[in-house]
Structures are given as structure tokens and as C-alpha cells.
């Protein structure tokens, strides 16, 4: 019974959102506002239950881990943002999170985003057993990466053999990449619609399995 009512409510709101395709209307606006409130309400509840209660409140109430008062006070300083005279205090928790996360991510980002990618870019052009499309692909891979990097290098004019020709090849490679992304984007958007159709036809109307 609970599930049936739930699915009918879900279908109602699904159709309310789809009604926007014809014309904006109060039902759509209601659903639009509801989703904002519900998502933040859900976030607050989950954050309190999963994070604050077991990690902060329960250890403090148990009389152990008094050091947790420090992050608690830092966190509560966020409230000062709403009091203009002492709003500057809210910078402390932001600074704590920003500085430390920037620091901790620096060496790992260097490794993941730069070093490993440079390593991957130095791929062998030919290894025994490769077919022609793989060899051609590796050539495109190495030269294409270099050409695309040249295209994005704006400190020098794109003229001459290296920068001029390189950036011209680079833009073609980039267009192929963006074409692939566009194709996948279309696929992705359609997939989201497919999910909703499956919900309406399957879970709600039981026309399909």
C-alpha cells in the first residue's frame, strides 16, 4: 500500500515537471520549490545522523575525546556569518578547510593529473602484435596530445611551423574529441529520459516489465 501510494505520488510529480514542456504552470513551480526544500532537509538529517551524532555528539557526551571541542567550535563559527559585526570569524573554519585541503591535495594532484598523464602520453608507437589501427591510433595519440597542448598555449602567436601547424592540427584533434563528447552527451540525456519512461510505464502503469 505504502509503495503504491508512493509510486502514484512520484508519477504525479513526474508529470508535473513534464507539464513544463507545454507551458510553465503552478504544478511545475510547486514541484520545483519542493525539491529544493526536500533535498536540503534530507541533507541536514543525514549529516546530523551519520556525521555529527557518531563523530562529535556521542563521543563528547560519553566524556571522552574532549579534543573534539576544537572542530566543534570551528564549525560553529560558521554561524557568525549572519551577524555582520563578527562575520569575519566565519573565515576561520573556511581557512582551516581551504588551507589544509589545498596542502594535502597538492602532491597527490601533481601525481594524478600531471605526472601519470605525462607518463601515459609517452606510449610506444609500435609494439609487436599491434594492428594498423592501433599503430595509427598511437601516432594520433602522441602527436595529437602535443598538438592540442600547442593549441592551448596562448603565450606565443600561433605562427610558423611549430606553433602554427601544431595548433592547426591541435584544433582538428580537439574537434574530434568534442564531437565524441557531444555524441555521448546526447546519449546521456536520452538515458535520463529512458529512466523516467521506465518508471512511468513500468513501476506506475505496469505496461512494461
Amino acid at each position: 500500500m505504502y509503495e503504491t501510494i508512493g509510486i502514484w505520488v512520484g508519477a504525479f510529480f513526474t508529470l508535473a515537471i513534464y507539464s513544463f514542456l507545454y507551458k510553465e504552470n503552478p504544478l511545475y513551480r510547486l514541484a520545483e520549490h519542493l525539491v529544493v526544500g526536500v533535498s536540503l532537509g534530507y541533507t541536514i538529517s543525514i549529516t546530523y545522523d551519520i556525521t555529527l551524532k557518531p563523530r562529535l555528539i556521542e563521543p563528547l557526551l560519553a566524556g571522552s575525546h574532549w579534543i573534539l571541542i576544537i572542530p566543534a567550535i570551528l564549525g560553529l563559527l560558521y554561524i557568525t556569518r549572519f551577524i555582520p559585526s563578527i562575520a569575519w570569524l566565519s573565515r576561520y573554519p573556511i581557512a582551516f578547510l581551504m588551507g589544509t585541503s589545498m596542502g594535502v591535495s597538492f602532491p597527490l594532484t601533481m601525481k594524478a593529473w600531471v605526472l601519470r598523464q605525462l607518463e601515459g602520453a609517452m606510449a610506444p608507437l609500435y609494439v609487436s602484435g599491434m594492428n594498423w589501427s592501433e599503430v595509427a591510433g598511437n601516432i594520433v595519440l602522441i602527436l595529437g596530445t602535443l598538438a592540442a597542448l600547442i593549441y592551448f598555449f596562448f603565450s606565443k602567436p600561433h605562427k610558423g611551423l611549430f606553433f602554427g601547424t601544431g595548433s592547426k592540427i591541435g584544433i582538428w584533434v580537439i574537434m574530434l574529441g568534442f564531437g565524441a563528447t557531444f555524441g555521448f552527451t546526447v546519449m546521456g540525456r536520452i538515458s535520463l529520459l529512458i529512466g523516467r519512461i521506465q518508471y512511468l510505464l513500468g513501476d506506475w502503469l505496469h505496461i512494461i516489465k
Binding site: L21, Y22, S39, Y42, T43, I46, T47, D49, I50, T51, P54, R55, L97, S101, V104, S105, L108, T109, K111, A112, W113, R116, Q117, E119, G120, A123, L141, G177, A180, T181, F184, T185, V186, M187, G188, R189, I190, S191, L192, L193, I194, G195, R196, I197, Q198, L201, I207, I208, K209
Partner: protein, 324 residues
């Protein structure tokens, strides 16, 4: 023709998305090496291994991400691999709960029967934590596996719903040292220290794979903070919009494989079905017929739009405007 009311186009896409479901063609889906790598990797895992499935997506992209997460979860549970469920955002936490419901729903084929942490506490206290011994002991107490059920799954041994934690990138980093320190309790309030799967897999160093099902760039955190710090294998299950961006990670070996969009989920479902893990494919495979029809319509619209544009001489008018 270019001034056609766009609501006709909306109607066309709506019709094209509904009709293939009613006809139910079931065109075959071939698999790619990017998805096969994930399947083969999980297939090699067994009851002493564990994986993380991170629900790093919101309900907006659940049509693509949920089938991926469910497919891998079913595969892992079939092989008695312990599954940790996490989320990088509160709405992802809800998605993890929904996925668990789906996998344990008796109305859906290939379902599992869940035993809560509390219910098997006596067996746990008696030191019975090995999966085969646990199932025998549980059934000898008079518990009968429902008809059509794929097997028992025990909370704390087969799965743990760890859930959401804020600043999730740092939580991943913290889990490289200790999972229990980051999650002293799971989402159901059970102490993680008492869970056999946490005793066997104390940190991410002892976990065999992290699958990040993501609708945003959060999946990259698993590479940055887990793969690069401790060499943990990572796989991606991402939306199609993002899938093309992560091919460099596949080539560099930073991820073992990737499921991209509904197609990726459909490929994994096909692999599960062909290898006898599931008795049927799932929602992603069913949706591929609609995907075919919709893609043909979009290509048709692109061609017609360009024909109308060039035939109507609009490209010349735009050029003239530019000079003026």
C-alpha cells in the same frame, strides 16, 4: 521549417522514447574491453575480498548510475565479496539505500535475502563469520531461503552501508589509514568495529577495488586520494556526459576500466547474464532499444535542420549581417 514549434519536437522525442518499450525488440549489445576489464577483475574476487561501491551521484543521474552500481553489487554478492557502500553526498546516501532495497526486493529477479546485523549477532558472538559456515548455521536455525532468491547476505559480513560523510575527498584519504576512524558507525547505527568485514579489511589498503558511480567529477577523488596514495585499484561508472573525459585515466592505467552511461551498464548486465551470474538482464539493457531509436531521431533532426538552414540561404544572411 526552422520556425516549427519546438513542442512538436518534444512530442516526437516522447513518442520515440515510448514506442520501443511497447514493441520490446531486444537488440543485442556487444561488450567493450573497458567494461570487460571491470567484470573480469570482480569475477576473480572471492569471499576473502572486499570492494567499495561509492554512490557519488544524485537522483538526477540515477537512470544511468544506479543500473551500474546494482550490476556490480549483484556480481560481488554472487561471489561472496564483501561490499562497502559509501556516498560522497547526502542524496547519494539515499541512492545507496535505494540500491540496497532494489537488490533485496523479492519482486525483482536475482534478489538477495538480507539478514540485519542484529539478527545474526548470536552467530557472530559464537565466532562464525566464514560465509559458508554462516549460511549453514543460519539455515540450521530454521531460516529458509525464499523461492527464487539468489542467496543470503549478512549485514556486516557481506555488505555494510557506511553512507555519507562530508568533505568526502578527505574521508577517502582518512580511509587509507583506517575505515573505522572515518565511519565509527554505519548508517544503521551499528558499530563498524564489531563487523567482521571491517576486521578483515581495516583500511583501503586491504580493499581490492573502489567503484565510483558518479554524475560529477567526484570520481576523480578516488584516483587522487586512494589510487595515487596507496595504489588501490579504481574503476569508474560514470554518466555518458563525463565518460569521454576519463579515457586518459584508462590508458594511463589509473583506472582498471569504465562503464560509460546506460550503454556501459547494459554491457555489464549482458556480461552478468552470459556468465550465469544473473538469470536476466536489467533495466539498462531494456533501455538500449529506445537509445537506438532516439539516436536515429536526433541524427535525423540534425540533418533536417542543416538542410533547412542551407536550403533557406540562412548561412548567406548570417555572413552578410557580419559584414554590416
Amino acid at each position: 521549417m526552422l520556425n516549427i514549434d519546438r513542442r512538436w519536437i518534444f512530442l516526437a522525442i516522447g513518442v520515440v522514447s515510448i514506442v520501443p518499450f511497447l514493441i520490446g525488440i531486444g537488440m543485442p549489445v556487444s561488450t567493450t574491453v573497458e567494461v570487460e576489464n571491470i567484470f573480469d577483475y570482480v569475477n576473480e574476487l572471492g569471499k576473502d575480498d572486499a570492494i567499495f561501491i561509492s554512490f557519488d551521484y544524485a537522483p538526477g543521474t540515477q537512470a544511468e548510475n544506479t543500473p551500474m552500481a546494482i550490476a556490480v553489487m549483484r556480481h560481488a554478492l554472487h561471489n561472496d565479496v564483501s561490499v562497502f557502500l559509501t556516498a560522497n553526498q547526502p542524496l547519494g546516501h539515499g541512492m545507496a539505500i535505494g540500491a540496497l532495497h532494489y537488490v533485496t526486493d523479492p519482486a525483482i529477479p536475482d534478489f538477495y535475502e538480507s539478514v540485519s546485523f542484529e539478527d545474526w549477532s548470536a552467530l557472530r558472538d559464537a565466532g562464525i563469520v566464514d560465509k559458508d559456515e554462516l549460511v549453514s548455521a543460519w539455515e540450521s536455525e530454521g531460516n529458509v531461503l525464499p523461492e527464487g532468491c539468489s542467496g543470503w547476505i549478512f549485514e556486516g559480513r557481506d555488505y555494510a552501508l557506511l553512507g555519507y560523510a562530508p568533505v568526502f575527498n578527505l574521508v577517502i584519504l582518512g580511509m587509507t589509514n583506517s575505515i573505522e576512524a572515518q565511519y565509527p558507525q554505519d548508517a544503521h547505527g551499528n558499530s563498524t568495529g564489531e563487523m567482521p568485514m571491517l576486521r578483515d579489511h581495516k583500511s583501503l589498503r586491504e580493499v581490492d577495488l573502489a567503484l565510483s558511480c558518479s554524475g560529477s567529477g567526484a570520481c576523480v577523488w578516488w584516483i587522487t586520494y586512494a589510487r595515487e596514495k596507496i595504489g588501490m585499484p579504481v574503476a569508474f561508472g560514470v554518466t555518458a556526459v563525463m565518460a569521454t573525459d576519463y579515457y586518459p585515466y584508462i590508458q594511463s592505467g589509473q583506472i582498471i576500466g569504465q562503464m560509460g552511461g546506460l550503454r556501459g551498464a547494459a554491457e555489464y548486465e549482458v556480461l552478468l547474464y552470459e556468465n550465469g551470474v544473473t538469470v536476466t538482464t536489467g533495466k539498462a539493457f531494456t533501455g538500449m532499444d529506445v537509445q537506438s531509436a532516439a539516436h536515429l531521431l536526433i541524427i535525423f533532426l540534425i540533418i533536417m535542420g542543416n538542410i533547412a538552414f542551407f536550403a533557406g540561404g540562412f548561412h548567406k544572411k548570417t555572413a552578410l549581417k557580419g559584414r554590416g
